[in-house]
Each structure stands twice: as C-alpha cells, then as structure tokens.
Amino acid sequence: MKLLKPSWVSHNGKPIFSVDIHPDGTKFATGGQGEDSGKVMIWNMAPVLREEDEKNENIPKMLCQMDNHLACVNCVRWSNNGLYLASGGDDKLVMVWKRAAFIGPSTVFGSSSKLANVEQWRCVTILRNHTGDVMDVAWSPHDVWLASCSVDNTIVIWNARKFPEMVMCLRGHTGLVKGLTWDPVGKYIASQADDHSLKVWRTVDWQMEANITKPFSECGGTTHVLRLSWSPDGQYLVSAHAMNNSGPTAQIVERDGWKTNMDFVGHRKAVTVVKFNPKIFKKKQKNGSSPKPSCPYCCCAVGSKDRSLSVWLTSLKRPLVVIHDLFDKSIMDISWTLTGLGMLVCSMDGTVAYLDFSLDELGDPLNEEEKNSIHQNIYGKSLAITSTEAQLSTTIIENPEMLKYQQERQNSAQANSGPGSAGPESSAPKLNSVMNGESLEDIRKNLLKKQVETRTADGRRRITPLCIAQLDTGDFSPALFNSAPILPSGSSMSNQLSSQLSSDSSPGPASSLGLRPSHDPMLTSPPPNSAVKGLEDNKDGVKPCLLLTSASKIEPMKALDSRFTERSKATPGVTAAISSIAGLTPLDRPKDGISALKDVKSKEDTSSDSEDKMAAINKNLSFSKRKPDLLMDGGEVVEKRKKGRPRKDKMAAPITQPFTQITPPAEREPSRVAAPPAAAVAALKLPTPSLKKAFSLQVSMEPSVFLEVENEVTVVAGSRLSQLRCSRDGRDWNTLLPSSVVTAAGSSDVLAVACQDRMLSVFSSCGRRLLPAIQLATPVSALHCSAHFVMVLTAGATLSVWDVQKQKALVKNESLLTILSGTDITVSQSLLTQQGVPVIGLSNGKSYCFSSSLETWTLIADNGDSLVQCADFRSCLPTQDAPVSSGPLAVMQGRNLNAGRLASRLSSTPHHLQQGMTLAFLENQQAAALTLQSAQEYRYWLLIYARFLVNEGSEYRLRELCKELLGPVHKSAATAWEPTTLGLRKRELLREVLPVIGENLRFQRLFTEYQDQLELLRNK
C-alpha cells in the first residue's frame, strides 16, 4: 500500500466535507467550505497518481472551482455515467453540474488567482425542496434517480432524467438524515439518521421496507455525517456510527431479513463514513499453486471521528490495514476509484489523502462480466447495460477496423466535450473561435459598429448583445422540460398540426386543441407582420388559437410574451365557440394560407385568419334554417362527453403527421352525427356527417389548397346545383355538382367530394374530373385523401381505398365488422397514410390497418397492451435522432408512449421477463411500422431494437437481424431477398446498425464480420 497526501488539494485550509472520484478516474471533486460560500472544486487525478505529473507545471492540478453554493457543501457525487456532478450544501440546495462543451477555459474576471478554470462546469439545475441543510446525495444505479437527504428529516428522490422533477419525498425519520446509499441492484435505498435508526426504502413503491434501530439505540447525535454503504454484491449494508457494548462500530446489516449479527469493531470514536470498494475480489492465484475455487469477497473502508481509517476484507476477521493519525480531524468522506485499487479520503482538517493498493493486497478483482453473473445469480437481473463502458477498458480490440471505429467514437466524444480537456495544450484560453466564417477577432473589431442599438419607448439606449457562444445546457435545459412536447423539427410543423386535426375524430378534440396553446406557447414563433395585423384587426373577439410558423425561428422576444398571455386569456372563448358550432372549422391556418384564403361568406370582414372562418360559419349557422338541429347537436356533444366516453386525449394531444389532410368537418364529430334522421336506418353503423349549407376547409399546406363548398347555390331548370370551389396557391377553379356535397377531402394531388346522392367524385388538383362518379352503397361516414389515394368509410361500415393514379381499388368494400365486434365500439379515428394504407382507430383504444397485400385487418396499436406498459427500452433511445413522432404509428399510439415509464417501477419484475416483454414490444413496433409502410418509423424502431439487443447481449437475434439486412452476398437467380424494405435499402440500414453493434466490444466479431462483407459488396 502506498499513501500520499497531496498538499495542493485544499480549500485554503477550510474543511473538506466530501470527496468523489470521477467514474473514469481522471478527476475528482471535493466539496466544502469556501471563503464566504460553499465551494466545489474539481481536480485533476493525474498529479495525484504520478509524481512526474505533479511536478510538471503544464499539467493543471485544479480543473474548476465553483463558488455558487451560498453555504458549505456537504456532499459531492458524480453520476454513474460521469456526465453530471451533484452537490448538496447547507444552503438547502442540490445543484447538478455539467461540463460546458462549447466554452473553453477562462479565468474568473478580476480574480487574483492565476488559476484558470481549465474545465468549465456549470450548474444545469438547482433542486429546491429541502428546508434544511442537505447532508448527502446519491445517484441510483443507471442514474435514474438522484436522492438527497437533509436535516429537515426528509429524503427527496429526484427524477434524474427530468430535473427538477421530484419523484417522492420519503418521510419517516424523526431526526437529521445524514447518509444515503442505493442498493447496487436498484431495489432499495437506505438512509441513516440521528434518530437512532437506519431505514431501508423500496424503490417500487417508496415505502419503508425495514427500520433498524437496535444497534443505534445507544448512539448520540455526535457526527457531522453518517455515510453508510451497500456492498457491490448487494448482500450487505454497512452503517456508519453504531454501538455495540458501548463501543463504536460499523453495523453490518444482511440483506436477507435485515439481520444485524455482525459489525466492524475497533474504532475508538464514532464511525462517520463507510465506503465499499466497487469491485468484488477473489483470492489472488499464487504462481504454481493449484487454482482452488475461492469465495468472492468484498472490501470496505471505514473512517471515523477518531481520525483513523480501517480497510476490511469480508473474507478476513481482522482489518487489512488500520491507519492512525492520518489527519488532524475527523474523516468526512471516502471514495474508491472504479478500478478498486485507489482511494481518496478527506477530512475536516481540510486535507485529502490518497491510498494506493496492489492486487496482492486486495486480491483479483472480478471483471464486470463475473460481477454481473453474480448479480444475475442472486437477483436474476443483469447490470450489463451499465457495464459497457467498463468493459471497453478491459476487452482486447481484435482488429484494426474495430480499433478505428472505437477511436472515431472517442474522438467525436472528445469533440463534443469541447476543447478544454486536461491537457496542457488546451489550458490557454481559446478565444479565436470562428462564427459564420468570421473569427472572433474580426467580430470584435467591428462590434461597436455592428451591434444593434435601439431606443426604448422612454428613450433609453438598448443594446442587443452579440451571442458569441451558446450554452449547452444539455438535456437538462429548462426550455426542454417546460414546453411539453418536443417537435422533431420545425420543417413541417404546420402540416403536422393541421393534419392532426384531420385524423382526429374523437368527441372532444375541439376543447383539447383549443387549450393547447396555453400549454406550450413556446411552440409558436413570432407571427409575421401580416398575421400580426390580422390579429390586431380582429373584431370578433375570437382569437385564432394556433398560429404557426417555422419553429426554428423561435426567439426570446419580449413582445411575444404579451402575445402569449393574450392568447391564453382568449383560449376559453375559443373553446366555447368551437364546441358550440361543433368544430366546424379547421382550427389553424398557416401564415402562407392567409393570403390565399378569401372567404366569400364574410365579405365585410377584412381580417384573414381563422377567426374569419369562424365568423363566417357563425353566420352560416344563424342564417341556416336548421339552426335548431345544430343546437341540439351541440347539446348532444356535451351529453356524450358526460357519459364518460373515453376521451382520446392521447390522440388529440400533440400528434403530428404530415400525411393526411385537413378534413371535412364531418368526420370530426361522429358522436353528434349520430343524431340526424339517418340514425333511424338500423343498417347504418357508422355516423354520417350532416348536410351543411356551406363549408370550407384547407386540404393541403404545400401547396396550400383550400376547398369551399356551397350547396344549392343556384337553381337551374328545377335542379339544384352545388358549387365546389378550390383555391390552389392563389389560383381558383370551380365546378358544379348536381347534388349537395356532404363532405369533401383532398390532398395535394387529388380532391374528393361525397354527395348526398351517395356519389363520390374525384378531381385532380386543377379541377379536372379524374373518375366518373362512383356510386356508394351507403352514405359516406368519413372521406380521406392522401397523395393519389382516396379512402371512403361508409355508414355501412365498409372501407374502400382507390389508387386514383392507377385507377385501381386497393381495398374493396372491406367490412369493419371484424374489428367492430362488441356493441359499444365505434370508430374514433380514421386516416389514410401517404402510402395509401387505411388506418382505423377504435373507441376501445385499438387501432387497425387494412393490409391490402395480406387482405386482412392487422392490429397496429393497442393502448391497453401490457407490453407497452412494461417494455423498458429507455436506455436504447437514440440520443441524436429526434423521436419519430409524426408517423402513422406514433399517431395511433399516441405520443405518451412513455418508453416504459412504468417499467422503472417494476425493478422487482424478473429481468428475463422484462427483457422478453421489451423484445416482444419492439418486434411488434417494427412489424406494425412495416405494415403501415412507414419507413421512417420502421428505421427508428429497428435501431432501437438493435441497440436493445446489443445492450442485452442477445447475439443470436442480432446475427439474424444482420443476416436479413445484408442478404446474400452473391446473387443468384433463386434468391428471393429484396434489397429494400419500404424504400429503405437494407444494406444502408445495416450500415446504421453496425456502429451500434460496435459499441459493445463483446460483439466485435459480429461487427467485423458484417463490416467486412459490406465493404466487399461496396467494392464489387
């Protein structure tokens, strides 16, 4: 054993309360008292480990210091993935720190010290809930939760994936809680407090599992901290300060029955901190001696107020080593390196000691795989997911391709983490960064001339500062979490939102949509001037509720704030208006549509947006002779809702889908449509839209196409004609129909209208009739167009889809009876994908699509599916790719497919069961995406599937997947292998899958094998 006290690790003599070594072993953090605040410091590990590095002045010792805590810092802890540092202090706060990637080193301006912050760590979130000093913080395995405990007697569990969300506040201690430790399997968390108790809490329901008091009954509240620890095999929990026969001990608590039969004895004063070595060891094999199987054991360090430190092996009865007088004051914290051979100890006296052990002393550490197999034997749950990083360091890379790949990965990771790594070359501030091709120097030269200066209303100067670096606040960005839905990109947002309307036929869409803007005003960006005008001109008191432009232009403009508030005030009015007219209008209108829209019905109105529309419709209603009917209908909507029919919030909420169109108003209100006279006909199973004097809708965004229908516009020779008018990119055409139009739909390619006489007419986007009128057996219930496909759902519960381009039927009068089994089930949603696949959502939460190749209904989504609830693939979600939330599958399943939210609570579920459920779920998703012919979604789920297989170590399935994607290397006539699926080239997909496989070195042979074959094929 070697011992070192690096004198340069100090808080200027102030106490150091906590120390923690980064998982990668390159740095460590200390926390304690600063000059007039709390202080967190991050240090370079290299100068501790190597004397030459300590002497080398080019190697920085201190990497960063943070004075942000207002009072003494009691605890610092790195997350298991090493990305975050959590600190808790007397200021009642927990701060979570992240390395700022884009900003190089800098000194503190005006500071006396020449010590530059080599790395920039900044607070990404502050967790406020405790009402007293925070004494200890702990990250759960897999960094799912962060726990903090405080002198306010509580323990708070924070959602580490969604700071600052609080999961639970554990109450039960009646004294200051001074220490926390997680069970390595994640099933429990244990806490020790001044109330003479150690409590174990379950993570499943956050209830108390055990309350252990006996060994602590004699204890006085005399220690600053009570840092307890759980053994890496999970079998033992060792407490801090306990008493046995009036002597201070560290109590060993067995997981099995929480028995307290053993303890570590010998310290003369209270034990402040216990820390298990993260490794499990086995006896060192002596050269020559026959290898006999020995029981694995753990290693544990105990620090005490008596200033001494003892290190124990669970295989020995006496301590391995006891070190006295290492410090002048109480030991406060201990941290092991992940290798298990190094240990840092800090003390109230403001110093830190480093202990270095050899394998001879401790034994042979088990590698991660062996450790996992121990876990799996005991708990049936593998921790393989966490171990990939650790494995990397020990597994030999077998071929240059893999090495190259791994190096590329590392490089890109380094590039991401910015230039300020601990190397000497980067310690100089790099201010010559380049922006838009202009160096910072150039910018500075002209800054005064270039900067934007305005005058405020009261005549004051206002300068808009030039942003020279964006702060990466990473995934904890508050903006991300406060604005509920994250849209994948700004490109087609208006499309998505409009189409959302179309696919939505549940009874309550109007209200949920109307309310949306108040939930996430962030989604709206500054309206263009014309739109602003429209807003201000608005005299009807009805505000347009959604006004969308490209999302990429979101700017924090103050002027917008007021607009948001105005809008949220108006929202209730909008909702009311909409429900009273039973959702007649498309709710939103993109800015580019504004000019194109000329509402003939409201000539006196000059404004342009959707309020215009509403005004028009209001007028229609009041002029209409059928007003009573409509009112009654409106009443029925309300009634239906009261009955508690499941509201499809999931679907009504932020669904996006760029592939269907704005609908005829009709199919959004199946409930109310049930009322009209048609209801008398028993054969009609599905509701039909009621006839209106006039209506209009937007059928496409790009190009923008508007449809207007006016029924019974003229009477020529006794026959009543209806007019269909269409405006496409500002160009109008119109045509006349001999019967009243019930509903209409369109896409950028085709338009379809269904008439009262059960005739369906199809026109090209320029108004040319494409097909002769189609006679339908029963009236139309819903009509959709998408690309060159037309879908009709008739009141007789049959479905037809035609390909207008090829003039062919894809689906012919297919009955819905198969899926409409049961009495109460109704169609709540229907849509048509761009590929012409019809999808029907039912009120029981199931969604089906009709596969024309299989000529059958296939189930693509089931909200009640237990697999959905239990599948846990969160660790496999791609980090860069935005989730595909706009495909038909996502639409039908709802956005709230919360990636196994429940699953984390089910850690008691046997691992193999959970693994099975997740696999089944992921395979279901792929199959559904395939049937829906939704290529992007297929790719998305395929990649998650691959990642999951890689994490779970399922080589058999992985190999099959690769084989399918690669196909036969040599072509032969007999091969039935299709090189593409849904238009995606399978080998391209394989190229995407391979890097995922390469992340786990265990599969390097598989990686190499397929990498080589791909290369071979490419060279051919």
């Binding site: 500071s111 100067r461 030039l466 942003c467 670096a469």
Partner: protein
C-alpha cells in the same frame, strides 16, 4: 447564485484624449435566458473626495439575453467637465461600470483612471484652470477591481423561496449591501470587502 458572470472587460481606445468617449467591450455569460434586460452604467468619479461629483456617464439596457456567452461595446460620452472640481481634473480618479438586474446591482467593476497632460511643458507647469483639450486619459486596464453582490435573480413570485436560500445573516437579507446604491460609491480604497478580488 449569480446568473450572469462577467468574463472580461476590454478597455478600448485607451489611452485617449480626455474628450473621447469611453468604450468598454464587455463579455459576459448568462446561465439561463433572462426575462428582463440588464442595465449597465458607467459612473465617472469626479472627485476622490466626495461622491457628490460622481457622474453617471450613461446607462444602457442590454437585452434580450438568452443563455450563453455574449459581448457588446458600451460607449459613453466623456464626463461633463463643468461638473468636475478643477483641483481634481488632473490626477488619478476612478471609473466604475455597474450592472443591475431588476434594479439590483450585482457587479461593480472599478478602474483607476489617470488624467495627465501629454505635453511635458504643461506637465511641469499645469495651468490653474485645467485645459481639458490637452489632457490624456489613461485607464489602468490591467487592474480591474471587481465586487460582486448576491441579489435575487428571480421574479417577485419566487422572491419568498429565494429569500430562504440566502444565508440568513441580517445584512444580506436586504439583498443590497448599503454601499451599492448606484451613484453613492465610497472611494475605492474603502470598498466593501464583500467578495472583493484583487488582481
């Protein structure tokens, strides 16, 4: 915890004739989007003896400030010579840059300024009435003195919560130490030792 950190202040156009405008290029970093503007001021201390002669040269709003690192140049006209005591025109004085957020000062950066004649003749025998056209202003840019104050960064809604987080010592609870009322600045040497850093 301060949401805005001043990273650097570069003194431009220095040294320069007395009548030239002051120019400071200020680089700061903001941890999160600020809903309100920052207000920066340049205060010229006319006389080391008394605060009476302090002149606010200009104040400017800076915004919007999203999270990130930003820079701007703050330019303000030279002090009104009529307001400077004749005896204090030549020699060392101080210029201050302060920044406030929601009316609370959180940083104060002070520089020594040396005003002297460039002409050796004049330097030897300075005229009784200072000749400002001949004076050169030299800001001791290498030696800024920075004082930082804890303030309440949150809006009123959070005020209660934030108060709890502030160390409950009586003089901090008012958020502003008595010395930071803008314009009332004791001479540099007597600056509060709140979190003073010397270079």
């Amino acid at each position: 915890m301060a949401k805005v950190q001043v990273l650097n202040v570069a003194v431009l156009d220095n040294p320069s004739p007395f009548g030239n405008p002051f120019q400071f290029e200020i680089t700061f970093e903001c941890m999160e989007d600020l809903p309100e503007d920052l207000e920066w001021k340049i205060i010229y201390v006319g006389s080391a003896e008394s605060e009476e002669y302090d002149q606010v040269l200009d104040s400017v709003l800076v915004g919007p400030v999203p999270a990130g690192r930003h820079m701007f140049v703050f330019q303000a006209d030279a002090p009104n010579t009529g307001l400077i005591p004749e005896s204090d025109a030549v020699g060392v004085t101080v210029v201050l840059i302060t920044c406030t957020y929601r009316g609370q000062e959180f940083i104060r950066i002070g520089y020594y300024v040396n005003n002297e004649y460039t002409d050796p003749e004049l330097r030897e025998n300075p005229p009784l009435k200072p000749d400002y056209t001949q004076l050169q202003r030299n800001i001791l840019a290498s030696n800024p003195r920075v004082t930082r104050f804890h303030i309440n960064w949150e809006g009123l809604a959070d005020k209660m919560e934030d108060c709890e987080n502030v160390d409950p010592s009586p003089n901090v609870s008012g958020m502003l130490p008595p010395s930071c009322i803008p314009g009332k600045m004791p001479p540099l040497g007597l600056m509060p030792d709140n979190s003073m850093d010397f270079m």
